[in-house]
Symmetry: C2
Subunit: 615 residues, 2 copies
Amino acid sequence: MPQVTPEQALDRERLHELAQQLRVDSVRAAAAAGSGHPTSSMSAADLMAVLMARYLRYDFSDPENPANDHLVFSKGHASPLLYGLYKMAGAIDDEELLTFREFGSRLQGHPTPEIPWVDVATGSLGQGLPISVGMALAGKRLEAADFRVWVLCGDSELAEGSMWEAFEQAGHSGLDNLIAIVDVNRFGQRGPTMYEWDTTSWAGRVEACGWHVQEIDGHDAGAIDEAYAEALAAGAPAAIFARTKKGSGVAAVEDEPGWHGKPLADPEAAVEELGGVRSLQVEVQSPPAARPFEVTCASVERPSYEVGEKVATRGAYGDALAWIASVDEKVVALDGEVGNSTYAERFAAKHPERFFEMYIAEQQMVAAAVGLQTRGWKPFASSFGAFLSRAYDFVRMGAISGADVKLCGSHVGVSIGADGPSQMALEDIAAFRAVLDSVVLYPCDANQTVELVEAMRERRGITYMRTTRSATPVLYEPGASFEIGGSRTLRSSGEDAVTLIGAGITLHECLDAAERLSEQGIAARVIDLYSVKPVDAEAILRAAKETRALVTVEDHWAEGGVGETVAGVLAEAASGTPLVRLAVTERPGSGLPGALLAAAGIDAEHIVAAVEQAL
Amino acid sequence: MPQVTPEQALDRERLHELAQQLRVDSVRAAAAAGSGHPTSSMSAADLMAVLMARYLRYDFSDPENPANDHLVFSKGHASPLLYGLYKMAGAIDDEELLTFREFGSRLQGHPTPEIPWVDVATGSLGQGLPISVGMALAGKRLEAADFRVWVLCGDSELAEGSMWEAFEQAGHSGLDNLIAIVDVNRFGQRGPTMYEWDTTSWAGRVEACGWHVQEIDGHDAGAIDEAYAEALAAGAPAAIFARTKKGSGVAAVEDEPGWHGKPLADPEAAVEELGGVRSLQVEVQSPPAARPFEVTCASVERPSYEVGEKVATRGAYGDALAWIASVDEKVVALDGEVGNSTYAERFAAKHPERFFEMYIAEQQMVAAAVGLQTRGWKPFASSFGAFLSRAYDFVRMGAISGADVKLCGSHVGVSIGADGPSQMALEDIAAFRAVLDSVVLYPCDANQTVELVEAMRERRGITYMRTTRSATPVLYEPGASFEIGGSRTLRSSGEDAVTLIGAGITLHECLDAAERLSEQGIAARVIDLYSVKPVDAEAILRAAKETRALVTVEDHWAEGGVGETVAGVLAEAASGTPLVRLAVTERPGSGLPGALLAAAGIDAEHIVAAVEQAL
């Protein structure tokens, strides 16, 4: 063992005092709130004290400074600790600290970007690390920046597969600006974790992912200090497995089960045991000056397609993405190893330095997108629509973060054909509509797709586009304009008997049906409801007033899709116009697209039959 | 190198012939279909030929035999290979093989349980292995059975975090009846995988999870044979990383990129190169006799609660689960390390041998439930409703499998209070409604919860129950009966002016509002819409006819929940009765439940205001 110099000893005493303050403030905040996670905060107090005092480079007066390090609490429930750090940095005062979890306080139960120093909402375990991978990728691959991403992880959350997607991706990408600090306090919510303090299995796995790994005593300030120094010099992503005691510092709860997510029984005694309330502040290091960087911007022409030409909207998505990235250098793209299906490969071919291959790891893909947008990038992430369901919790949390993430799901609906139901997104409209402040777009032709991709770029928030596998005829002129929240009436006479409402593939079936109906002397209005959320209620209500029945047709389950969206508009307006909803209601199989559309009852023939019955 | 005896040489020649047949049939099936994945099948042909000829124990004439091994194609796109195996086993004929991907054929693009020898649908990568963990858990922990679970995995799917949840859980549970065969053909869909043929990183990680690991040449029948023998004797879950060539056996595609998911350009030449069409059959080993096993069934009384008592429905869920498991020995429970919140711990306390702690790995939890139900168990899996969104793709695929899985999500809505939005399920009704053949239940009191848990037990399929964090008054008498698809009118006079429709927590707000309205002389009907899917359309339409307005109130986003369900019923019936939908529309924060219900506009006061405005 090396000798500790008197100077080091003094410094360690100071670090201990800082850690004790963090413990005290965690206890006090939770006591004031009557809830929260003081014990999960106390275990990591030494780890965070050393980080704040000696390693973090962050200007709390300028959270937008691009050279700031990032500090992500992947174990978001340790929010009292995070807020204690803000107090220690002088960013908040003690009074605000004690508003923890109060209605209206920005110091919520789990951190959210309502707080200026928080990049992303955490609290759904296993997300902070994969999101941090996105930040670190931005630093390494796009910005050649000096900032580091520090992530405080819990041991329990190592059970989430998403953590392992992150370890793999970070190792593969050589993210030496990423440091994962794992607070191994051996207790989860309801009892011991799988491995408790035996960090061997995790360490072995993380090392095999190409990380630099250390296993330390997480209450030894000297060891923590050395570990951080070693991590920064590692030349690889660095993981520190720190064995700690939950509730450390207070005998009544230290390393005791049953104290997860609860204020201490006797907070006053605990504060006394910890040496009383302190108001120490640390001078957090300033970041170095931000380095300028350049983005290569290949010139790509705006794609346009001739009316009548047959083009898959997924292809137009790829073309449009390549184009908008040439006019907006902030546009980046990610794909889940299906870029030759989603056509994100067309972006990759033109802008390879802004393309991120995330392999078949949809959670990591969406998480990386969330991470990238914290640095001002505009990420478009694509996969089969069906497989985006894999990342649903990441989308949900992204919305809580107010993240600016654009998603594209290809191969939707039964119309994909022979691959069968495992590959068919039939729930994506419902799932993405039920996301805070989301937008859901479903273009029917290539020129419309281009316009809507451009609209996605401009719009901040979670925006989802659903694209079609098969080629469909181009209906709109190049440059025709389409707004989020709009619709397009494609067929209308003064005397429409019925309104057919479709989007994407079914719009073409609606047009076909309208043609057949007109042969029978029935005039049908056709509405292209390309913006499913927000929806053009006015057009729907006009149709409800001017025609005798509405028929919605969608290549999606009956729940939560186009039909229910329209139903909601009608019911709220107390419209008595009958609505017929055609949608997929039974398990589809394999087959040709046409056969499957027919089997699902959503092709032109079934639309005609539905109209005949409705009228 | 050991010498190969003449007998072994003969045998290997036979194994090679079998593998060639599998390659030929993969090429032919895909050629007939005009689509499919022959090259991904050919890489694993030797692996599967040896398995079928020498290791698999399976009675194809009796797929229900509980002693049969399980064979799961986690890489479901290699379906031509699987169907080729069925032909080789004499289970299907050549004519049927060539119906691959035809409309109406059970030989779909990806395997589904429409085929009697397929346990679960695969095709969403990363699911077969975690589901197999569930089967293996059943064999080891519940049935003391001799069957083995063989899983053919792809290398690309090792990027999915769910695979790593499975490796960890299987290692932790010592599942020595599980053998993962990884076909490392080094190509994904659009190009090389992260590690190509370097299996070191994966092998290191899997070993660190407690598996027995081998790395072999996947085209060497002798090596494969030895690897299987070693795997069976390993006393631990066994992984075999087999380096193979995609498209092996046909020079035009062997180890060539660009041939993923495509029929061969010249299938006839390929068949010739492979030695022509064969019709070899193997005598697949019969399984040993099934062993009887016993299930311990602790006696637990049916829970019942007094009217007026305050009980959280999540608590009643735990009580009910413990009870039904005492009357039905097939009931098992899983939880994502939050059993003291979901109250699955009450089941665990009574029936520890039928409880599975899945730690914070929701994908593995749902996957294990899907695996367990293939063996006739009736799994109930619980976590916070918000975190079940993590497993959405597994639920989607479970529905395609027709799996009998019961899910319970606790802590739904803003009414959970101080923990904040990351913990609030606000999209779960929408997401679970948009699942094939699903049922969505949302009880408002403890006695109703008990009845509905019993209904879940009886019902086969994906059934979701949403439970409330806080204690709410018991409204119904013990033993009151509630059916899936029903509703309950709790307040009604002959002259109701308005109908209030709630479920769960909001039902109580509706009752409170009705009381306040009656003080103003406004009679309000109150409907408890505890079965959100299927919904009691009759009760809704009756209310629409008999009252002047409907108000739905839900602790959920406005999309895809109770309000849209009701809107759908009204619009399809062409009801002109106005509907007002109260739901959560803005990002909630932390606070007390009452404050958050008020802030979201879904408490009694806002209901009263909405009624006043509507009338």
